[in-house]
């Protein structure tokens, strides 16, 4: 019996020829991602237990992002703890404010994600990096503490589900619509504990940015990880972004690998999707919800705050005026500069949007765009749980940057295809 790409990566990480789903393994970690909310508690735990050490100062990547720039005194204290620790251990890849950005956009962009590696981070959307044929999963703070100190972590090898993305996307339809359609079908816990492996011809035409939007939301189906195989698109991105360590191993699933389920999608038939409150699985085609009045549009986050997303939004906003509060949040300083250099900021400014510094900010109801009671926000983020972006009586509608931009212009949920 063959192995999936996920099983092969984990087998390598434990130095075995084979692992099987359900097996408990102690895997070697290649990269630990650290941010400002969940890493400070991990640091305190290590200090309290008297094991304040790091397994490898070159394999830990640190970026404050959630509440940065500090939104209040308590957040500033978290940043101070993170900063003191990173400096004390001489962490090589510590992105301070000015170079810090939304972690899951920043790490690939700065060349820290390589195929075949095991990447963990105390953030549920760490599954994003699976777009690079890596095993990558979100963990808690205690896990992070263990990984930081020992470079090892326990895992149950996940069974895999295969998602075959057939066809090609129509105009105005993007990878966000695909992943919302996937989650709408399998449900918020349809892939619980599993690895979601995405394959199929529709991926060929997707950039790494677009692919990351898909793996980013694997957790929204309850998955342990999301993964996409290596191809020319992956190679080109890596050639352009890897810096210090440029070697990597490419694994692929065997043709006789075992899957718990295989789900086929005809991407040509997928329409722009909106996930209605209050679950990411609440996706419906735009035709079923267009016209619903909104109070805010949010374009940013680790799901859709990359340059391609900003270009798509700008394409729709060009020469138009937004009818509601519209926040543009480039995910990293590099993306911010790129958007500025390409003239996208002028388009956003003319349209009446506000442009923010890179931050996770309002995606999780932190700051910079928090919602009042009863307000509705069309958002390119990944979660629409109760109270996610602010007041428990506010509502979040998840959509692509195109749908969010079109909705910003109309002031209500709108089909981006009429703007093309």
């Amino acid at each position: 019996m063959g192995m999936t790409i996920t099983e092969k990566i984990l087998a390598k990480a434990v130095g075995k020829a084979k692992v099987v789903p359900g097996q408990l393994v102690d895997a070697k970690i290649d990269i630990v991602m650290c941010h400002d909310i969940t890493t400070p508690p991990a640091i305190s735990m290590l200090e309290e237990k008297g094991i304040d050490k790091v397994f490898d100062r070159e394999k830990i990547v640190v970026t404050p992002d959630h509440f940065q720039p500090a939104k209040d005194i308590k957040s500033a204290e978290l940043h101070k703890r993170l900063d003191g620790w990173a400096k004390r251990h001489n962490i090589k890849y510590y992105y301070k404010i000015g170079r810090a950005g939304v972690c899951h956009a920043l790490l690939p962009e700065q060349g820290h994600i390589r195929p075949g590696e095991v990447i963990v981070g105390p953030d549920s959307h760490t599954c994003t990096y699976g777009a690079f044929a890596a095993f990558s999963t979100g963990i808690g703070s205690t896990d992070a503490a263990a990984a930081i100190a020992t470079g090892q972590l326990w895992f149950k090898v996940p069974a895999s589900m295969k998602f075959v993305l057939n066809g090609s996307l129509g105009p105005g339809v993007y990878s966000k619509d695909v992943v919302l359609a996937v989650i709408a079908r399998v449900g918020t816990d349809g892939a619980r504990y599993k690895a979601m492996e995405f394959v199929g011809p529709a991926l060929k035409d997707m950039s790494m940015e677009a692919r990351m939007t898909i793996t980013n939301m694997a957790i929204e189906a309850g998955a342990k990880s999301g993964i996409i195989g290596f191809d020319d698109v992956t190679k080109q991105y890596l050639d352009e972004h890897l810096k210090d360590k440029t070697d990597y191993t490419v694994y692929e699933s065997d043709s006789d690998a075992q899957y718990d389920a295989v789900e086929e999608f005809d991407c040509s038939a997928i329409e722009p999707m909106v996930a209605l409150p209050h679950l990411p699985s609440g996706g419906v085609p735009i035709g079923e919800c267009a016209g619903k009045e909104m109070d805010q549009a949010y374009i940013g986050s680790c799901t859709n705050g990359r340059i391609e997303d900003l270009r798509i939004a700008a394409g729709i906003l060009k020469g138009k005026q937004v009818a509601i509060r519209t926040l543009i949040v480039p995910a990293t300083p590099v993306i911010w500069k790129q958007a500025k250099d390409e003239g996208l900021f002028d388009i956003f400014y003319e349209a009446g949007c506000v442009i923010s510094a890179p931050t996770c900010g309002a995606c999780l109801g932190g700051f910079m765009g928090v919602l009042a009671a009863g307000e509705k926000c069309v958002s390119t983020t990944n979660r629409n749980f109760v109270g996610r972006m602010g007041h428990p009586e506010s509502e979040v509608y998840l959509a692509s940057p195109a749908t969010a931009a079109a909705s910003a212009v109309e002031g209500k949920l709108a089909d981006p295809r009429s703007f093309l």
């Binding site: 408990l24 909310i37 969940t38 400070p40 508690p41 305190s44 735990m45 290590l46 237990k49 094991i51 959630h66 509440f67 939104k71 209040d72 308590k74 957040s75 978290l78 105390p122 953030d123 549920s124 760490t126 979100g138 963990i139 808690g140 703070s141 205690t142 896990d143 503490a145 263990a146 100190a149 020992t150 326990w154 918020t188 816990d189 619980r192 504990y193 957790i219 309850g222 342990k224 679950l279 999780l364 109801g365 932190g366 928090v370 979660r383 749980f385 109760v386 109270g387 996610r388 428990p392």
Partner: protein
């Protein structure tokens, strides 16, 4: 006697358990004051030491924030009984030495306010109010080892010292 706080809901997520507006601290006592705030504002006033939370499928889905476990433990809740748990919440509970119970039947057999007693060794939830016993599968051995050591870091330290 432990009282059950029953929520007939699936997908009770980490945003409801501890909203992100409180993530600027990792102080357990402070987090506990906002436990389940966006699900049930009154929970913190009702809960007593040793009480249990009972819920449906996929409890703790969403964010990796361990603050969810800390808020619940900080509120002196003895355990959470759910039909199933989201993956990271499950890890976080074990890593904190916090025993959680997966039971397909508990939600149907326990009403809000029922008095319950839990025999962890025997894998038995005793509903004293309804006079019924509900069995559950104890956590797997590796999880018990971590819990018995007091959490993952204690487990690692012990293992290294041994």
């Amino acid at each position: 006697m432990a009282k059950a706080h029953v929520y007939k809901r699936d997908h009770i997520n980490t945003d409801e358990i501890i909203p992100a507006r409180y993530l600027n601290t990792d102080d357990q006592a402070e987090l506990a004051r906002h436990c389940l705030e966006d699900l049930d504002k009154d929970f913190v006033n009702k809960v007593k030491e040793g009480d249990v939370i009972v819920a449906g499928e996929d409890f703790g889905c969403g964010s990796s924030r361990e603050h969810a476990v800390w808020a619940i433990r900080g509120a002196k809740v003895q355990t959470v009984i759910a039909k199933s748990f989201a993956r990271i919440f499950y890890r976080n509970a074990i890593n904190n030495g916090f025993y959680i119970i997966e039971s397909p039947d508990a939600l149907e057999k326990i009403n809000d306010g029922d008095e319950v007693e839990i025999d962890y060794k025997a894998g038995l939830i005793k509903n004293k109010t309804a006079s019924i016993d509900i069995s559950f599968n104890p956590l797997p051995d590796f999880a018990l080892e971590i819990i018995n050591d007091g959490g993952l870091l204690e487990h690692i330290t012990k293992r290294t010292t041994d």
